[in-house]
């Protein structure tokens, strides 16, 4: 959404007008949307969108209940002036200051400055009315940024968008609409006074009489303004609003007053697809057009945007800016210094690394030599340990064998698991079966009792027979047995002895 869009919300007795305008490059505005409805709350989604644009939303209230005044106060600071203004309102209305919503501005005009005093134009509305309007806006979900009475909208519109505004010193601007009728007597410094104008009670039946009354009221207002302290020289009467009535009034004023009068066609400033703006919609459209623009007056209660006051905020911003500005050179210088120190350290560390690398390489060579020596020692040890005492095994076997036992086959072999296995195949011969069997059992018991032999299960073969040998019958027990041989392990110092032998 363009930043030049403006919105206004205007609550009237029997409904609301919600207006959205966008400024045109060639000047003037386009009415983007215009909604009128009964009740206080708009229902369409489009109307509800107003709540999203509170930054450029002017809430226009009827000027009838809003009071204005021009006062002179001593030259004080802004805060004290504000207190003085609200105090003046409280005294004037004989009620506490917090029951009034006040907006004020010092009149600024070259040549009118007073040495010890300043003139202030102020407008105020009861807080109750203001709150009720705020509540109505909140029912829309909207929080307007500004609240202005209709006459202030007209005054601001004339000052900013009428071609003669800069050349006139004082003027009287009259608005005649179907619903709203008022006039504002202003000088280039500020609004001086505003007056409601009578409505046409004949409802158009006696237009001339109504115009006479209006002209009289306008003339009186000029007279009244001249009686004030500021004694303005009204140079022009500007009439706007309903075209027909305004033209009639201009003609009437030309006849009855000496002040030049002219019609100001405000509706020309607004483009609308459906034709020209009706006089009832002119003021809401003007309020929307003024919404994006700066305005010194606002009847909304002051809402501080921040927790801090303006002075504290200014100091905080100043401190933050100073810190940010100071931080840059500190960081730059600190970074450069650190980098320089790091570079020096890196150079030294690289040199140390080169020297250490040489020493570490030498150490690595020593370590490698150590590992080779350890590997060789381990190998030598493994062979020394595995050096089985085969002769001892055989001699041990011989010592256990009774004379009746005859070996047929004796095998010693290392299995894949590294165990030495003894395979015995033999026979026990005797004259009787009992003797042959007894010899075998004695042999088997001797083998089983040996600490160097472990039986690998039951005998594989055990056969008792009675063969004839040299025509004599003998009794024989044939057997096949297997034993695991427990080799004598060499002590770990065997390597040392091997090495010692080598040295010799």
């Amino acid at each position: 959404m363009s930043k030049k869009n403006g919105y206004s919300l205007c609550f009237k007795k029997d409904g609301f007008v919600a207006t959205s305008v966008s400024s045109l490059a060639e000047g003037g505005w386009r009415v983007e949307s215009l909604h009128q409805g009964q009740g206080a709350v708009g229902s369409s989604t489009e109307v509800q969108n107003f709540s999203k644009n509170t930054e450029r939303l002017t809430m226009m209230i009827p000027g009838v209940s809003v009071r204005t005044s021009l006062i002179s106060l001593p030259r004080l600071k802004k805060k004290e002036t504000s207190l003085a203004v609200t105090g003046w309102v409280a005294r004037e209305e004989s009620s506490p200051a917090d029951q009034w919503s006040v907006s004020w501005r010092e009149r600024q005009k070259a040549g009118e400055e007073k040495a010890d005093k300043k003139d202030i134009f102020l407008l105020y509305e009861s807080r109750e009315n203001v709150d009720s309007h705020i509540s109505a806006a909140q029912a829309w979900g909207a929080s307007p940024s500004r609240m202005l009475p209709d006459f202030m909208v007209l005054d601001a519109m004339f000052r900013r968008h009428h071609s003669d505004s800069s050349s006139l010193k004082a003027w009287n601007i009259v608005f005649i609409g179907k619903e709203d009728h008022f006039l504002c007597v202003s000088t280039e410094a500020s609004l001086l006074l505003t007056r409601p104008l009578p409505a046409d009670l004949s409802d158009g039946a006696d237009a001339q009489e109504y115009l006479d009354r209006l002209a009289t009221d306008v003339d009186r207002s000029i007279f009244f303004a001249r009686q004030t302290e500021f004694n303005p020289d009204i140079q022009k009467i500007i009439v706007c609003g309903d075209s027909e009535q305004a033209h009639g009034l201009v003609e009437k004023l030309k006849e009855e007053t000496t002040v030049p009068a002219e019609f100001w066609d405000v509706a020309d400033l607004f483009q609308m697809e459906t034709g020209k703006l009706d006089s009832t919609l002119l003021l809401p459209a003007m309020a929307a057009a003024l919404a994006p623009q700066k305005n010194h007056y606002n009847l909304l209660p002051h809402q501080s945007g921040t927790l801090l006051g303006p002075v504290a905020l200014r100091r905080l911003v100043l401190a933050a800016s100073t810190a940010a500005v100071a931080l840059v050179p500190i960081l730059v210088v600190g970074g450069l210094l650190t980098a320089r120190i790091q570079d020096r350290y890196l150079d030294r560390a690289r040199q140390q690394l080169e020297q250490s690398s040489v020493r570490a390489d030498e150490a690595a060579e020593i370590y490698k030599a150590q590992r080779v020596l350890m590997n060789r020692e381990e190998l030598m040890l493994s062979f020394t340990i595995k050096d089985a005492d085969y002769a001892g095994v055989l001699l041990h076997l011989a010592s256990l064998t009774p004379e009746q036992i005859i070996y047929q086959d004796l095998r010693l072999k290392e299995s894949r698991e590294g165990q030495l296995v003894l395979h015995l195949s033999g026979q026990s011969n005797a004259k009787t079966v009992a003797e042959a069997q007894q010899s075998f059992l004695t042999f088997q018991q001797a083998l089983n009792s040996s600490s160097r032999l472990v039986a690998m299960g039951e005998p594989r073969k055990l056969v008792i027979s009675s063969p004839k040998v040299q025509d004599a019958e003998i009794k024989r027990v044939d057997f096949i047995m297997e034993y695991r041989v427990q080799l004598k392990t060499q002590p770990a110092s065997a390597v040392a002895s091997v090495v010692a032998n080598a040295e010799r």
Binding site: D343, A364, K368, L373, E378, L379, Y390, L412, V499, E503
Partner: protein, 223 residues
């Protein structure tokens, strides 16, 4: 001319523009100068940390080397000599055969015969298959040696100590006492020898012995 210049620079009087320009300059300084400077500082810091780690590792190695050096120097000669004797670089078959023959003479065994077996690696799982049962090459004792990566990125290639083996078959005849003497004599040979199998068969007037020996030699590659 001066008036034109003044008009050209009049926009500088706008506070918002002045603040905008100052803020822009500040951001440009931060982005183009401060940030790159500190990025360099952070990068250098990580480089320093890496270097310090490597230096610490190098120092550890240096100290370890200083401790190891005397011990290694002292042990190198005797261990290598013993190893060379136990695992000669060449097969030195003739010398070994001569040693076996001498033991056979001293043991007074008869019909002593010697031969080198072929077909290594064909051995089956049958322990008692006494045909041409040969030790597999990978039956050799494990040899150490590998690449080692140490902390701090130092890579060391530890030289491998590899062994080769061949098999010798002997056959002789004698009584048990002579056989035991022969077997005992094997222990006197300063070579890495393992009895692969021993088969003793009693015969009419003695015992027939078939003995297979695995003889190990080194094929050391020391870098």
């Amino acid at each position: 001319m001066a008036g034109k210049k003044t008009r050209q620079l009049s926009w500088l009087k706008n506070a918002r523009i002045r603040w905008g320009i100052l803020s822009g300059v500040w951001v440009v300084l931060v982005v183009l100068v401060v940030v790159p400077t500190w990025q360099g500082v952070v990068a250098r810091n990580s480089e320093i940390s890496d270097l310090e780690t490597r230096l610490a590792t190098m120092d550890d190695w240096t100290v370890a080397g200083m401790w190891l050096a005397p011990s290694v120097k002292e042990r190198t000669l005797p261990v290598n000599a013993a190893f060379s004797r136990l695992f000669p670089a060449e097969r030195e078959r003739e010398e070994f055969f001569l040693s076996l023959a001498q033991i056979a003479d001293q043991s007074r065994v008869d019909d002593f015969s010697l031969s080198e077996a072929s077909g290594l690696g064909m051995e089956s799982n049958d322990v008692w298959n006494d045909g041409t049962a040969m030790a597999a090459d990978d039956d050799a004792p494990p040899t150490d040696g590998a690449e080692a990566t140490m902390d701090g990125g130092m890579e060391l290639e530890i030289p491998k100590v590899e062994l080769d083996s061949y098999r010798v078959k002997t056959q002789f005849f004698g009584d048990y006492q002579r056989i035991a003497h022969f077997m005992n004599g094997l222990k006197g040979i300063e070579r890495a020898v393992k009895v692969h199998s021993l088969v003793i068969r009693p015969q009419r007037d003695g015992v027939q012995v078939k003995l297979e020996l695995d003889v190990y030699v080194s094929k050391t590659s020391q870098s």
